[in-house]
Structures are given as C-alpha cells and as structure tokens.
Symmetry: C3
Subunit: 359 residues, 3 copies
C-alpha cells in the first residue's frame, strides 16, 4: 500500500508543476471554448527552438560521451521503436473496427517520438534537479526513424499482399492479362526494397522536426555553440515549453471530438498504449542501466520517449507514405489521447525509476 | 506652484522612461508613414504573454493575500467600472452628434480595462522601484466585466425602450397585430434577464484577454509556476512591453484619422475621459488605502486601470453584443485617443499618489 | 608564410563559432531540401529586434561620444558607400551580359549595408571579447543611404541620357513632335533634381530597416532605454541572430539557383565584391584609426559593413526606384552570393585588423 501511496503522492505533486499544469490549463481553455489562440507561426517557431535546444544539448554532450554508453541506449531506443510498432500492429489488428492499414499507421505514430513530450519530461526532471545524460536528445531519431520505417514497410507489405491476392482472383477470371505484365506488376508491388526504405529515410530527415534536431546535433558536435546555448536556448526552454503545453492541451481536447467518428478501439489503444510502451522503454532503459550505468533520469526519459507518440514529423510522413490510412483515426488517437496520456504519465515513470534505481 | 512644478517634473522624467518613450516612438513611426510593422501573429503572442504574466503574478500573490485586503480593492474596482460607464453614458448622451447606443458602447470600452496600459503602469512602477500589491492583476476582471455588463445591459434597455415606443406608435396605426404576438415580442425586448447577463459573462470569459488572464490567475493559485514565472515571464515582460508600446503608438496614430468621420464629442471624451476616470479610480484606491492599507503603488495602478480603455477583449465583445453601434466612434475614441492619453497620464497618477500617500 | 597561416587559423577557428556555423547550417538545410522553415512573421520580428538593438546600442553610445570621433567614421562610411557604387558601376559595365541599369542596381545593393551581416560581425567580436565603439550602428545609415542615393541618381542619369539620345534620333525622323512637348519631356528626363533625391531619402527612411534603426537610435539618444536594453535586447541578440543566420543561409542557397538565369559576371562580382569592398572599408577605417583613434574592432565592423550587401531595405527601394532592373540579377548576386561571402569573410577582416592594429 505504501508503494501505491508513494506513486500517487509523486504524481499529485507533479500535477502542480508548471509543465503538467499548463497542459491541463490548455485542455480547460479548449473545454471552455475560449477564443485564446497562440498564432500558428509562433507555435512553429517555439517547436523549432525546442528541437534545436534538444539537438544542441545532445550534440554538446555527444562530444564528450564514450561510444558504448551512447551506443547501448541508442540501440535500445531503436529496438523500442520497432517493438512498439509490431506490438501495436498485432494488437490493433485484433480490435473491432480497425482496418489493417489504419492500425499500422496508428502503431507507427505511437512508436515514433514526440519532441514536445520529451521536452516536457526534461523540464520536469530539471525542475526537480534530477540528472540525466545530456545526449538523450540524440536517442530521439533512433527510436523515431526505426518506428516510422517499420510501420511504412509493414503497411506496404500488407498492401502488396492484398493486391497480389486480388490479382490472383481477378487473374483466374480473365486470363487475358499477359504473363509479362503480371510479372512486372508483381515485382512492383512486392517492392519493399532498398529504394523505398531510402525514400522513407530521406523524407524523415527532411521533415522539420528531424531536420531541426539533426541540425542542432551537428552544430553541437562540430561547432561550439555552448555560449549561445547557455545564454539563449537553455533559459528560454522552460518558458516556451509552458506555452507549448497550453497549445498541446487545447489541441488534444479539440482532437478528442474526432474520436467519435472512429472505432472505440482507438480510444482504448490511445490510453493503454502510452503506459505499455513506456514500460517497454523502462525495461530497456533498466537493462541499459545495468549494462553501461545509464542514469535513472535517462531511464525516465527513455520511458517517456517510448510512451510518446509523434505529433510534428510523424503525421505528415505517415500521410504521405500511407495515403489510404484514415487521419482521423491515427491523429485523433495520438494527438488527442496518446500525447496527453504520455505527458501526464511522466510522474509515474519518475516514481518507478526512483523505486527501481533511485535518483 | 511648487505643487504643479513637482507634478510637471515627475511627468517630464517619466517621458524619458522606455515605456512611454516607445509609445511616442510608435506614434512618430506612424506619423512619418514608416513601413515598419510588427507582424500580427507576433503582436498577438506578445499580448498573450503579457496577460499570462499579469495573471500568473496575481495568482501567486492571491495565494498569500488575506481576504479583506483583496476583497476591498476588488469591490472598488467593480464599482469604478460601473460608475465610469454610467457617467460616460450620461455625459455622451448630452454631447452633440452622439447616438444613444454609440455613447453607451464608447462608455463601456472606457470603463473596461486595457491589459497593455495596466502592464505599462506596472513596468513604470517597477522601473522606479515602487512597490504594489502582487494581486493587482486579479482586480482587472472585476472592473472589466462590471463595465462591459453594465454597458450592454444599458444598451439593451435603451433599444428595448425605443422598440417599445415604436411599436406603440405603429400598433396604434395598424391594429392588425394579434395581442399574443405583441406580448411575446414585449417579453423578448424587455429581456434584460439572467440569461442575457450569463451570455455576456460567458462571452467575456471566452475572450482571449480575459481567458489568458484567468488562466494565468488559476495557474498562479493552484499550480506552482513560480520558477517559470521568474525565469521566463518576468524577465521578458518589460522588453515585450516596449514592443507592444510601439505597436500601440502606431495603432493610435492610425486610428486618430478615423475620428474625422465622427462627432467632435468623441475627441473631447477621449481626452477628458481617462483623466476623470483615473481620478475616480484614485479616489476609490485612496479609500481602500485608508480601509485596508492598500499601497500607494496599488492606488496608482487602480487609477491607471480606471483611466484605461479596453483595446483587446472589449471591442469584439461590444461589436458582438451591440452590432448597431458604430465601431469608428468607439474604437477611434478608445484606441486612437483614450489609450495613449491613459498611458501618458501614468506619471500624473504617480505624482498624485506620491503627494497623497507617499511611496 | 606564417602570415597566411595565422589568417587561415583565425578563419578556421571562427567557422566553429555559432554565428558562422549557423549560417553554414542553414545552407546545408536548404541543400538537403529540408522542410524546416522559420515562419515569415517570426523572421520579420527577429530582424526588427536586431535593428532596434543595434540602433538603441548606438544611440546610448552617441550620447557620450565626442563629435569628432563620431563624425570622422561617419564621413568615412558615407564615402565608402559612394566609392563602392561608383566602382561597381564601372566594373559591371565592362563585364559581359550586364545591362547598364542592372549593373547600377547591383552595385547599389552591394554599397548599401546588411543589418544582419553587421549584427553577425558584432556577435563574433562580442564572442571573442573584442571591444568596438558602441556608436557603430549609427554609421549604418550614412553608408546605406549614400550608396542607395548614388545608385539611383546614376541610374536616372543613364536612363535620361539614353532617352535623350533616342529622342534625338526619332526627332530627326518624325519632326511632328511639338517643341513644347519635347521641351517638357526633356525637363522631366534630365530630372536628377532635389525633389528626386528628397524622394529617395524619404523612401529610405520609411523602409522598415532604416526606420527601426533610426527609431532605436532616437530612443537611445533622447529616452533612457538602458535598462530594457540590458535586460531584453542585449541578451536576446546573439540567440536570435543564430536563428537569423539559419534563415539567411537557407535563403542564400535558394537564391543561388536564380544565378543560372543571369550572366556569369554576377557570380564573379558576388564573390569578389565583398572582399574588395571590405578592403575599401578597412582602408577608410585604418585612416580613421590614425586620425581619431577609431578602435581595431571598429575597423573590423566598418569593413564588414562595406563588404555587406543590403538584404532587407535595399531590394524594395531599388525595385521601386528602378523598375527596369532585373531582380534575379541584383537580388541573386547580393542575397545569394554577396551576403554569405561577406559573413564568411568576417574572420579575414579580424585577422587583418589584428595584424595592422592589434586588438
């Protein structure tokens, strides 16, 4: 009982902390139909600044990190991305009212990472003076890209199989199609090849979020941005994040209404997903802790990354790659439910890491 | 003579202070037809940040304030809002070329509060190291809402009376209208009832300005945003206010030209109103000083609140509730004349408070 | 050899500094077709803040500067602006594929000043703790306006001469044109008169960049904005500049493609121009150093101002005054090539000033 009480206590204390309070504030604003709106260009700029900050901080730390203490969590992050997508695909396929492609698209977004959620986790840890590896931001693309590539490859295979099946049926009926044509088509549709994966990778790296993060990372590693990082990016970080939380809270509330149009399965997945995925991240982080001394704060952030679902770079990537998937389903489930659940579960992972490792 | 010289001296010194100097700078830019423009989304964001700052600061202070020292100025603020609207309605009704509804709409805006003007007052006091109650921002909605509700109720009554009079006349002529229909209509037009006031209140709380302020207030009271307040909202406050003053100066200059289209009465009211209203606020503040020890800085800010006229949330509320009123009249008088006069009279109220109470 | 090695070493070290690294980062983003974009309103606001900062800083310093130490570099800056335009006009006229008016327009932009490039120079010097006169920003309009007025006057004279020549030819053929009409036309076309120069001056002062700078200058001189300058404008300066460098790098990369449409001469001028112009500024700065003790840091910034080409206020001024000139030529050469070359040559002028005077 003391165990549960401890967790509950940590969670309640955290809800008073600015990061989570602003998220709830944003939800209340939207629930109350307030006309208060942060203009779109300002929102985009705040996201760019946060991603540059996370990237720069990671880059500066990578310079001094030894290879193994970086490689183990990075590999773990990539594994978490793949596992979450596979698990989500299998789970959603069994739920009522979920089409195969919609399920894969949703699982892909939940496997990918939300920079804002990660930033919220960092701000909460900073606020409590809990240390974590500076290079954490560098783990982001490993999990994000692994998840998106897995989801898109899975979806293409699924589409190709269905088309092959349909063609087999229609082929038996008509018999007029030449062998060569059928063969050519088959080669094309089975096409989960190097080119496709390269295409996904290029698209992902060109997306605003990953671009900003990689740019920050590169500048952090190769230039010496420490002074501008400390005088500008660091101090503005928590303040801008509080504004971002307002926006995300309001956005989540607005998206929840879209959930009425899709199967209940998405609501279930949106609530349970972040918690299960966070536990996967927690387990991998714990393993990294025992292997390379990965910090308790690092384990919390890896859990949060795994619990988060992509809100900036993911949706357009999925929309472009899987035009047949229904955005109301995957964006509603991720931005409307998954993101607030993930942010609000930050205190849970803190309580778990405190008990399992100790800050 | 020394008395007047003291006031003049204080005023001249303040005109060199950044807040007022940037306002005058903005006017000069507009007078010179400069193409320099702060983009609209940035302007909106600055206003949101300032309102959140004022709300957060007030909320943090309300936590520690005792009930009476808060309730007395809050009640005073609401009284000031009502008195200013009633006085303005009576005064404007006697002036040439002012329609009844236009007069009420204008008086409503002058009774409501400008967050930017209040923020300017805070920045000027901060710059001179003059203390004031942290909860001052919490008085804003009391005056603002009292004024807007009074104005809209007055206007509805006025419209209802006129329509009733017209119907009586036309009713005598036609006699074909059924009694039931007339009765129904009468019930509707006399309708200054609970629903209407509830509607005005809901609209006011949903307006961006009051939403941002109330959100800041709630977060300040229930969450613990002290650290993000001190590291982000506080330090950015004066800088962003300097930009806002530029915008407001330019906007005022641009609006003055609209005054040519309306009666001279609005120019007279726009200049005299802020000074008279500020004195009403000053009197109420002085009473609160003697009752609960309300500070001299607080008296100055209550005067400035009373002197200010609403520039963000007021105009759309008035436009929605009183579509028959002429925006050139009430926005021209308030934004074009009232706001700069109120901001430029900040040093006057400081000089008065210094003499009456002493900083 | 040691001489060249020293310069090379300084240059390489500077490329790791944030200002230049962010510029190169922006180029890489554009080269990689990243979808990362800083929204237009944010870009405009950053430019306004930087110009206000440069103006305020200059104004605060002008208050304490003695006349001669200010007048000598100001006169030098104006001379540099005129010399660069005359030299550029003569040079470009001799190059293949450059029309007379396009050449003058391009030379005008290269003579005018880029606030961002100047700000980058200041940030680099600040980062290395190298002192310079605070009033440097006040030199900007002297060089900028001298260059733009010279270019537009040259272009008008050129157009007037050509038209006069054409009219002489056509006049011989037709003879139907009345003497009065011809005389009227002649008066108009020869019209490089006071009104025209006044028009250019008014347009230039109304342009956003010069307006913001002059406003900052005036507020710095007549108001006392020191506290808001130190608490807001100064601390945000380097951070916002890093964002601006990203935008300018990406913009330069995007503009380079336009260079394919115009003569190679522009590419040559875009690369050689900033270096030659910087040397002209360096020479004038060195003379000022010997006359009034102008600092080594000041000499570097005067060189950078001369090397820079106008990117904000210049292009619209030139477009409005010389509609017959081809924007692809002059904007491509200045924003696409001239600006990055000028920013990347900052370390060169630092190395030269260190050797010639010593920091």
């Amino acid at each position: 009982m003391e165990f549960a009480a401890d967790i509950l206590n940590t969670i309640l204390t955290q809800f008073q902390k600015p990061t989570l309070a602003f998220l709830i504030g944003g939800m209340l604003l939207a629930a109350f139909n307030s006309k208060l709106e942060v203009p779109e260009p300002v929102y985009k700029f705040i996201v760019i600044l946060l991603l540059l900050k996370v990237g720069l901080g990671a880059g500066i730390s990578v310079r001094e990190a030894d290879f193994m203490s970086l490689a183990v969590p990075a590999l773990g992050a990539a594994i978490a991305g793949v596992v979450i997508v596979l698990l989500g695909t299998v789970t959603l396929a069994r739920l009522k009212g979920v089409s195969r492609v919609d399920g894969i698209a949703t699982a892909g977004l939940f496997g990918a990472v939300s920079a804002s959620t990660l930033a919220a986790g960092m701000a909460v840890l900073d606020g409590d003076g809990i240390a974590y590896e500076g290079f954490i931001g560098a783990l982001y693309p490993f999990m994000d890209i692994a998840a998106l590539v897995t989801a898109i490859v899975l979806a293409r295979i699924s589409v190709a199989r269905r088309e092959a099946a349909q063609m087999a049926v229609s082929g038996q009926g008509t018999m007029t199609m030449g062998g060569a044509g059928g063969g050519g088509k088959r080669t094309q549709i089975s096409g989960v090849d190097g080119d496709m994966i390269k295409g996904i990778l290029v698209d992902t790296f060109r997306s605003p979020a990953i671009s900003a993060l990689m740019l920050g990372l590169a500048l952090g590693i190769f230039a010496k941005p420490d002074s501008v990082y400390q005088s500008f990016y660091e101090p503005l970080f928590r303040g801008l994040l509080s504004i971002l939380m307002l926006i995300m809270g309001a956005e989540a509330w607005a998206r929840i209404s879209e959930m009425r149009k899709v199967a209940h399965a998405y609501i279930f997945y949106g609530i349970a997903g972040p918690l299960v995925h966070g536990m996967i991240g927690f387990g991998i982080g714990l393993a990294a802790h025992h292997m390379t001394g990965f910090s308790a704060g690092g384990v919390v952030l890896l859990s949060i990354m795994a619990a988060s679902s992509s809100d900036i770079s993911g949706p357009p990537t999925v929309r472009a790659a899987l035009p047949e998937a229904n955005p109301s389903a995957y964006i509603g489930a991720s931005t409307g439910i998954g993101t607030p659940v993930a942010i609000l579960s930050i205190p849970l992972f803190m309580a778990l890491a405190d008990m399992a490792i100790g800050f």
